[in-house]
Amino acid sequence: MPKRYVGQAMKRKEDPRLVSGTSTYVDDVVLPGMLHMAVARSIHGHARIKGIDTSRAQRLPGVVAVVTGEEVAAHCGPLPCAASIPNMKNAQRQLLAVGKVRFVGEPVAAVVATDKYIARDAADLIEIDYEPLPAVVNPEKAMEPNSPRLYDEFSDNIAFNFGFESGNTEEAFKKADVIVKERFVNQRLAPLSMEPRGVVATYQMPDNELVVWASTQVPHLLRTQLAVMLNVPENRTRVIAPEVGGGFGAKIDVYAEDGLVGYLAKKTGRPVKWIENRRENIAATIHGRDQIDDVELALKKDGTILGMRVKAIADLGAFYSLFTPMIPTLTGLLAPGCYKVPALKFDLVGVLTNKMATDAYRGAGRPEATYMIERIMDVAARKLEMDPAEIRRKNFPQPDEFPFQTSGGVVYDSANYEAALDRALQLADYKALRRKQAELRSQGKYMGIGLSSYVEICAMGPSAAMPGGGWETGSVRIERTGKVTILTGASPHGQGQETTFAQIAADEFGLEPDDVVTIHGDTARIPSGIGTFGSRATAVGGTAMYFAVQDLKEKMKKIAAHLLETTPDKIEFGVGKLVVKGDSGRFMSFTDVVDVAYNAVKLPPGVEPGLDATRFFEPSNFTFPFGTHVCVVEIDEETGEPKITKYVAVDDCGNVINPLLVEGQVHGGLVQGIGQALHEEVVYDENGQLLTGTLMDYAVPRAHDFPEFELDRTITPSPVNPLGVKGVGEAGTIGSTPAVVNAVVDALSPFGITHIDMPLRSEKIWKILKGRKAS
């Protein structure tokens, strides 16, 4: 049966409720007798807590309970960290600070009251007596022996060392005609989903039943962790992720407030709600990036790469959140990018500082890798006087070399890097752009062209590489009326799997997408699951669902064959029916077969009643999407503003289920990646004070910052899953940041500029334009 829906730009099934304001986010959950929680947080980057006086808060009418660190630590476990690196220090945090605070925004006390305004007032009445301590926010200073130490029990702030070498880098660098080196800094970013975090919990005695509504990407994972943290039986714990207003990685984590709301619901016997405000979101929701990479690349004079050495410093912040230590190690896996790098040495040190913890933010360790390899390729091209496109082309593995074992230690599944590069150059009209650039330069105007050829790691992932498991589940049930219900362990929050899964299932069963409903985000309805992150929802969750669909198709074929007096291998699915191959007059309608399955009278021997299947899919490998982006910037001479005048993105995410949604993911990713290049940065001062704590100070990209993006795709199916999909959630973010920086550096190269650190704000560029003369 030809595909009728997969590949079509279908409107989303999710949207009617979202455009009409009828969807339910966590803050829309209201329960009888519900209390509201507010949190008193550290105002210091580093301080000893000498005492906490909650008496004024307790006396405020409407306040039901006030809790502090000692009480909560006696009843609840610490924040979980699922990642582990050999010999790492165990920087665990309690839900509320005990003894010491280590970053601005760290929860110190919590209050619940009958009204959220009263709760906030009460939190402000809690008096915390601090003895401020010297803070350290610069990871290099934090490694020095005389640095202030975050943890009294540790000898220093070095959380771990990690590294590997593949090939012989020493020999590669000895043989090199040219060695280029540069320091690249990925500044600290705030994920900043438009919906802040939020939690509602109820605790029912005597059954010890905990029900939690949370704005999370990982309801099942959160359920397990909350059950452990709060000492509640997991099979009495239910987590519901209702509508989730964006996550970008930050809602994978298990947070102090999740546990506190559960604990306070248990303590007070009443439902408790907490909704994060934006200041809290920027201070106390995980941050991303914050990595320094000293990179050296050894090349032959024809541009062939011989080897690469990376010394990485990851600023982890003050404690470990769920995956904190693991994230920067992903940079090592992807360090070679889409090039043949025969020898690679990667050394990473993770450092504790007085800042919020870092963790997975859109791309999570891979943007850092792509940024450094794509920047150093441009530095090398300039040194060798090669065109940036040609040095890239020279080092690509060819399509027949896949699966391709890299020196980063992973096996790239499939690719044709050159095809994506060629298409991007063609779409951008690269040669004409270079001519225009030369012309503008002769007029004293500064235009730059930046390329980025990227590969990234998606469909996370094989369980061997994923703390807590990398599988996903899919359950498919055909109801008695012939309607199809899909239960997915993935927990999409804007990606649109309610639509794409319906497209896949409708094609397989010969039904309409409207006949299919996809349920996600409720541990009481979905038997098991991991969640949505690392571009895994379709590639891993969709594949689990696909296999469950195949199980039901096989069963339905058996039933139809029995009644049509043939064998199952002779039955195929048509639109709305099961047909005997080559004999279109002999068929049963889809619903008639469903009837037989449930009425269970005419079933073939050995076939159980019902149509319900669950599959766990364990991927054999990651998938590796790729592409090339071309960015054109013009620098405003008066203000230094780098204006993006053209942006071309050619991405290959394997087979495409819904091009509308794929393009949407790329658009959004581009804006976040460009946001890092040009605008965004979480800044702490030397005392650990957060200087970018509101949206006035933290620059989220706006509509007017961008031209219309020009998108195209090449399609190289992944062999890792039967759908041939790779994932597209992070591609835009990963590919775009270096393309923009390469463009700005290219524009400023007449000034002798070879590198500028992000974010490339006007002020930085203006200073360059004022301080130097173009050659």
Partner: protein, 162 residues
């Protein structure tokens, strides 16, 4: 303080604290939860509603300031079960992903189209400067507003008998 606020054609009356935010009045007194709160400082625009026809950020306006006002929220956009052309176009053009900013985007776009029936791409991007979206990269939001502008012009022409 006693306030009377008309929201989507229905009158809501209540004694409220002077500090109660309009956004909270809409969400909790009127129980219209389509209006979202994203920053509480007027910057993100998720809470945008129309107050007497003007797009306002309801998270930084007190309910008492809206006493006597006519408010339109996202729930008031569809008429007789028919989505407003802006809602339809956001759906058709994939102008939303997580949907959290969408009500504010639609109401802000409504103000733009009421002032400028044929905005250019640049004018749309500038008009939406007070509304942040972290998912869509804005491109399909711009397309959605352009598409809605076309639909509204056609409706106006039909209504005028052209």
């Amino acid at each position: 303080m006693h306030v009377k606020i008309n929201i989507n054609g229905k009158l809501y009356e209540k004694d409220v604290e002077p500090r109660l935010l309009l956004a909270h009045f809409i969400r909790e007194v009127a129980a219209l939860t389509g209006t979202h709160i994203g920053c509480e400082t007027s910057i993100c625009g998720a809470c945008t509603v129309l107050s007497n026809g003007l797009a306002v950020k309801s998270c930084t306006m007190f309910a008492v300031q809206a006493d006597g006002a006519d408010i339109v929220t996202i729930e008031g956009m569809a008429k007789d079960g028919q989505l407003h052309p802006l809602q339809e176009s956001f759906w058709e053009e994939h102008g939303l992903q997580c949907g959290y900013c969408t009500p504010g985007m639609i109401l802000c776009s409504h103000q733009l189209l009421s002032r400028n029936a044929s905005p250019s791409e640049r004018e749309i991007r500038d008009a939406l400067d007070g509304n942040l979206c972290r998912c869509t990269g804005y491109q399909n939001i711009v397309k959605a507003v352009q598409s809605a502008a076309g639909k509204l012009k056609r409706t106006t022409r039909v209504a005028a008998g052209d």
